[in-house]
């Protein structure tokens, strides 16, 4: 559990403390959601590192940030659960890999970087997309394959992208996105952007050969690439110790430094990513291993309970849940009341429901979209229908 320590310079918080009993009766409270008075919080566990220094365990944050974290993570949580129901109602078809439990990684990472930094991820990408600025409508529409989706309904759950925030998606083939991420980093270095690329992958993908190829290239050429292993301990149904000789993923870079982070603590994630960005810009690639956990199974066809016990899942939920951690922090620092937080959650529920309703009304893509964007437009290539003949009819 995080210990909270008020920064000694913030006398206003101390006086707020004294004023509390009066304030709660009358709403004379200072506006909490925009308060940027620094608060220092300790991460749940210290960082462990490989071939580099560890960042400090004390993280600077403030009320505004904590409330944003809470709101964003609660939104992501609600969104994923809603996606679960939609899938069971057969409104979402195909594949759906849910991120609930892992929200702290998306939110903490986003807090430490700008939109100029690139993020590239695998298929469990709904929340990372939202953290990068994606809207709920884009999410639900894409999941249901509608036009308003972020990929115009042609990508589906595994292929969310957002160009204007440098979110490079959304990849179905395990591990394939990591060399791509290193390419992005090269481009950033070349253009002197002072930006970095976060290439996310899982503990299953950590055993792919292409990862090591990408890491070697990045280290050789000092690319600002940060390889983030979202270690939720199970590659589909295979526990990490059964797939990897060394499940210490942060050490597997060998010559590349690594940091092990509690991925359920958004503040620890933020601290680690800030540290990593600074490191990568100066010294080249670094690996971040986020120790995280997913409550759902691998995908909607996986109950998630055949390879792990229900006790394990509930244990993590009770002790390490990222949303609960922030809620407790907020309450213990008296940054909001329980009721206010519950109101935020109610608001979120409504937002999610509205987005779903809107998405349901949205039309499916035009059938002519089947042939668009195979190649760049105007390249003079036509798509042929069956039997190599031109498509004569407009498909219904």
């Amino acid at each position: 559990m995080a210990l909270s320590r008020l920064a000694s310079s913030s006398s206003s918080s101390r006086s707020a403390d004294l004023l509390k009993p009066l304030c709660s009766a009358i709403s004379l409270r200072r506006p909490i959601s925009t308060d940027t008075t620094p608060i220092t919080v300790e991460t749940s566990v210290p960082f462990t590192s490989h071939q580099c220094d560890t960042p400090s365990r004390s993280v600077q944050t403030n009320a505004k940030e904590l409330l944003t974290f809470f709101r964003d993570m609660a939104l992501m949580r609600r969104m994923e659960i809603a996606a679960d129901s939609l899938y069971k109602a057969k409104l979402i078809r195909g594949f759906c890999h849910l991120y609930d439990g892992q929200e702290a990684v998306a939110v903490g990472m986003e807090a430490s970087i700008t939109k100029k930094d690139c993020i590239i991820a695998a298929y469990r990408d709904h929340c990372t997309f939202v953290a990068r600025g994606g809207t709920l409508l884009e999410v639900f529409a894409e999941l249901m394959g509608r036009q308003a989706g972020c990929s115009r309904g042609k990508g589906g759950s595994m292929h969310f992208y957002k160009k204007d925030s440098n979110f490079y998606g959304g990849h179905g083939i395990v591990g394939a996105q990591v060399p791509l991420g290193c390419g992005l980093a090269f481009a950033q270095k070349y253009s002197k952007d002072e930006a970095v690329t976060f290439a996310l992958y899982g503990d299953g993908a950590a055993n792919q050969g292409q990862l090591f190829e990408a890491l070697n290239i990045s280290a050789l050429w000092d690319l600002p690439a940060i390889l983030v292993c979202e270690n939720n301990h199970y590659g589909m149904g295979t526990a990490e110790w059964r797939a990897a000789k060394s499940p210490a993923y942060y050490k597997r870079g060998d010559y590349a430094p690594g940091l092990k982070v509690d991925g359920m603590d958004a503040l620890a994630v933020k601290q680690a990513c800030t540290f990593a960005k600074e490191h990568a810009l100066k010294n080249g690639p670094i690996i971040l291993e986020m120790d995280t956990y997913r409550y759902h199974g691998h995908s909607m066809s996986d109950p998630g309970s055949t390879y792990r016990t229900r006790d394990e899942i509930t244990g993590v939920r009770q002790e390490r849940d990222p949303v609960e951690r922030i809620r407790k922090l907020i309450l213990s620092h008296d940054l909001a009341t329980e009721k206010e937080l519950k109101d935020i959650e109610k608001e979120i529920r409504k937002e999610v429901d509205d987005a779903i309703a809107q998405a349901k009304e949205n039309p499916l893509p035009e059938s002519s979209e089947l042939f668009t964007n195979v190649y760049a437009k105007g390249l003079g290539v036509e798509s042929f229908g069956a039997d190599r003949k031109e498509v004569r009819a407009v498909l219904p």
């Binding site: 195909g94 042609k154 589906g156 050969g209 089947l370 798509s383 190599r388």
Partner: protein
């Protein structure tokens, strides 16, 4: 027997070198034995059990095979034969196939599973450059004939870009390996056993749509079906249709519809795509004068192109109409557009009529 044989000999064409029964019943190898109604994944499971039972140097490995596999094809194998022979690999296709080649090079029967054919590409280099050429470049000193790679392929209704692909054409372009695709449970068991026991590396694609959907009487004993022998599964006289795997059932439906319009269709299951049985297809085309090929993979560069070119070379003067191909479209396998992309019964029916009325 030899009606076709006799004609062939008379015309000095020397087409048919041995007897091939024209029958619509599936060829059962040695006949009876107890047969039980089972589905495709159970048939494959049976074949694997028999393969490991009859050869104690046979191994089954791949992602998640130990608990039975994501499609249940490997159920019970680990329990029965032990972890030393049936084991999981980490998530590394290139590693899996490379490892399998090595295992096979030592004289073992390595049965590698690639979880979805869409994931086979990292292993493509190993298959093409290592497995296919091993015997050739070592002057027959070494070979990896004991290698069989199994992968579920094909559309499944909601698979999207990466759980629906049909990559058979890429592999048919590689001399040195064999490519086999079964259409039904009974075929799958016999063909898989033949592939495993064949002294060449084989890639065996299993139509995932049929894993549960296709149910058939499958003999319980050990039997093998011959490779590189196509089978005429429906007799006809107006047009020859050639296909493989799950697509055959779609083609069969089209044939039934065409029958109502008085068009008599002959349907051939190629079974082995590389090396494919040119003689059977050619003999059929000589009878009907028309041919239509159908597969789920995109039409450009699909295996239908090879069949088309070969038939035209061999039967040019006999052909009454251009060779028709009803295939997937030239786009990545789509998500919501799957029903438009697929070579459906109506598209095939359309093409049958167009070809017959040419």
């Amino acid at each position: 027997m030899g009606f076709r044989n006799i004609i062939g000999r008379r015309l000095g064409l020397g087409l048919v070198r041995r007897r091939k029964p024209f029958s619509t019943a599936t060829c059962d190898g040695d006949g009876n034995g107890n047969a039980k109604s089972i589905n495709l994944y159970s048939a494959i499971n049976q074949a694997l059990h028999i393969a490991l039972e009859t050869d104690n140097r046979a191994f089954v490995f791949g992602e998640d095979v130990s608990f039975g596999g994501v499609f249940r094809c490997t159920t019970g194998l680990a329990d029965r034969f032990g972890k030393a022979r049936v084991f999981n690999t980490p998530l590394c296709e290139q590693g899996i196939v490379g490892f399998g080649i090595g295992l096979a090079a030592m004289g073992n029967r390595a049965i590698a599973e690639i979880q979805f054919a869409d994931y086979i590409y990292p292993a493509f280099d190993q298959i093409v450059n290592e497995a296919a050429k091993f015997r050739y470049r070592s002057g027959n000193q070494f070979n990896c004939g004991g290698l069989t790679i199994r992968a579920p392929y094909g559309a499944v209704g909601h698979g999207g870009h990466y759980h629906s692909q049909s990559p058979e054409a890429f592999f048919c372009h590689v001399p040195g390996i064999k490519v086999v695709i079964p259409r039904s449970p009974r075929q799958a068991k016999g063909l898989l056993l033949s592939c495993i026991r064949d002294p060449n590396p084989v890639v065996f694609f299993e139509p995932k749509w049929l894993y549960r959907l296709a149910v058939e009487e499958v003999p319980e004993h050990d039997y093998m079906l011959p490779l590189s022998e196509a089978e005429v599964i429906r007799q006809g006289s107006d047009i020859t249709l050639v296909g493989w795997g799950a697509q055959l059932s779609v083609m069969e439906q089209a044939c039934n519809e065409a029958e109502k319009d008085g068009i008599s269709c002959e349907l051939i299951d190629l079974k082995t795509l590389l090396p494919w049985d040119k003689e059977t297809v050619e003999a059929s085309v000589r009878k009907t004068g028309r041919v239509l090929i159908s597969h789920e993979a995109p039409v450009t560069g699909g295996f239908g192109a090879e069949i088309s070119a070969s038939i035209v070379e061999r039967c040019f003067l006999r052909l009454e109409a251009p060779v028709a191909r009803v295939c997937g479209l030239d786009t990545p396998f789509p998500l919501v557009f799957e029903p438009f992309y697929m070579p459906t019964k109506n598209k095939i029916l359309d093409a049958i009529k167009a070809t017959v009325n040419y």
